[in-house]
Symmetry: none
C-alpha cells in the first residue's frame, strides 16, 4: 500500500491549501500536489494556515497540467458534488478508501478549484468519482473540508479501531468483588435507612440500582470514593467531618 | 432519530464557527450551540465564513454554561485528541454515529476551544469520548475540520440505510437534565454530610463520581430510584420508613 497523493487543481486561496496540508498531516499523509495554483508557489498564506505542516511535514510539488501530476499513479479518483452525466462508478469516502487500500500502486485523488470544481476534462481522466452525501440545497463543500473527509476515512480504515491510547493513563478497573462489595455496602446502608419499603419493592429496586452500577465499568479508585460517600451519608449530616478530624 | 446538536465550548475564532456551520449545512445538520463564544454573538466573521449557512440554515443558540446547553440531550459525546486518564469508552466517528442513530433522544457532541480543547469538567459530563485516528506527532485538528468529520460520518450513515432498530423493551434513557439533577442532589447531600474535606479534594472527588455516573447510561427510572436512595440515606437511619408511613 502506497500513501495516496492529494492533487489540488488550480486552487485559488492559499488558506485552503494550507488547511488541506494541515489536515493531511493530522492523518499521516504527506504527498500534496498543486496544479497551476492561482497565486504561485510557495505561498505565505498557505504556510501560515498549515500550522507547521508546510513545507516539511507535507511536501507540495507543483505541476502545470493534471496529466503530469498523475503520471506515477495507478488509480485516479475525482471528487465532485455535481452529477456529471459520465459513466463512472460513484464511490462514497469509505468505498473509495477501500479501493485505495486495495491498489498496489499510488492513488491520485483530484480536487477542483473552490468556485468551479473539477473541469470535465479532469474527471474524464479518473477511474471513478468520489462523492459525499451532501444536502442538495447546500452542496458546496469547502476544499480543505473535502480533503479532510478523505484523509480521515483513509486513516480510520488503517487504524484497526479508535486509537489504542488512553489506556496507560487510566486507573485499574475494579474487580467484580470490589464492585459487588460496593453495591452490597450501599444496599446495607439503604436497608438500615429503611429505604426498601414495602418489602415487595426491594427486589426491583435492587435490580434497578445494580443495573445502573454494573454498566458503569468502575475503577478501583472510583469504588473507594463512592464507598466513602456512602459512609459519609450514613453517618449523617455534619458528623463525617468531625470523625475524620479525630 | 433526532438530529444531533453540535456544541462549541468557548470558541475563539468567528471564522471557525462559520466554517463549522457551513459544513453542518452541507450535511443537513442545523442545531449549533455556542457556550460563551469569546467574541460574543452574532459575529460577522462567522456569518461571512458560513457561506450562507448562518443565521438561517443553521441556527446558533448561545449558552453561558455547558450544563445548560446539554439539558435536553440523552447522550453526550466529548471530542478530544489527548488522553484524559478518564474511564470512558473511546469511539471513532463511525462508532459514535452508530450510537447517535440508536439513541431515541437528542445527542450532544462537544467540541473544545481551538487552543485548549475541552476542559476535564466538560469531559466528565460525557458518556463517551469521540476521537480521531490522528498522527501522534501532528495531532491538533482544526475545530471546523473536527465538526466536518462527524457531520460527514452522520450523513454517510444515514445515506446507507435506516438506523439500527430501537430496542423498544428498554426504558427511556434519562435526559441529561435528570442525570445532572441526580448528581447535584448527591453532591449537595455529601456537602451537608461534610464529605468533601479537605476542600482541595472536592474537585477531584466530584470528577471521580461524575465520571462513574455518566458512564452508566441511566434510565429515567434508575435516576428516580437512586434519588430516592440518596434521600433515604440523608434523612438518616430509621427515619425514612417513619416518614413514608406518615
Amino acid at each position: 500500500m502506497v500513501l495516496p497523493a492529494f492533487i489540488l487543481l488550480a486552487p485559488q486561496m492559499g488558506e485552503n491549501i494550507g488547511a488541506a496540508a494541515r489536515v493531511m498531516a493530522n492523518f499521516g499523509l504527506t504527498d500534496l500536489r498543486l496544479v497551476a495554483p492561482r497565486d504561485g508557489w510557495p505561498n505565505p498564506a498557505a504556510e501560515t494556515m498549515s500550522a507547521g505542516a508546510l513545507p516539511d511535514v507535507v511536501t507540495a510539488q507543483v505541476f502545470e497540467r493534471v496529466e503530469d501530476a498523475i503520471r506515477d499513479c495507478g488509480l485516479v479518483l475525482a471528487t465532485t458534488a455535481r452529477p456529471r452525466g459520465m459513466e463512472k462508478p460513484v464511490l462514497g469516502a469509505s468505498e473509495a478508501v477501500a479501493r485505495v487500500r486495495a491498489t498496489p500502486r499510488r492513488t491520485a485523488i483530484l480536487f477542483g478549484a473552490e468556485r468551479s470544481g473539477l473541469p470535465n476534462e479532469a474527471v474524464a481522466l479518473a477511474d471513478a468519482i468520489l462523492s459525499f452525501p451532501v444536502s442538495p440545497s447546500f452542496a458546496s463543500l469547502n476544499l480543505a473540508q473535502a480533503v479532510a473527509l478523505i484523509a480521515h476515512a483513509y486513516s480510520e480504515a488503517n487504524a484497526s479501531g479508535p486509537p489504542a491510547a488512553f489506556t496507560d493513563a487510566v486507573d485499574a478497573p475494579a474487580t467484580r468483588e470490589e464492585l459487588m462489595g460496593m453495591m452490597e455496602h450501599f444496599e446495607d446502608e439503604l436497608d438500615r435507612a429503611g429505604f426498601f419499603f414495602p418489602e415487595a419493592k426491594r427486589a426491583p429496586m435492587v435490580l434497578n440500582l445494580r443495573n445502573a452500577f454494573t454498566r458503569a465499568g468502575w475503577t478501583a479508585q472510583e469504588v473507594r470514593t463512592f464507598r466513602g460517600a456512602i459512609k459519609a451519608l450514613a453517618i449523617g449530616r455534619g458528623k463525617w467531618r468531625v470523625k475524620r478530624e479525630d
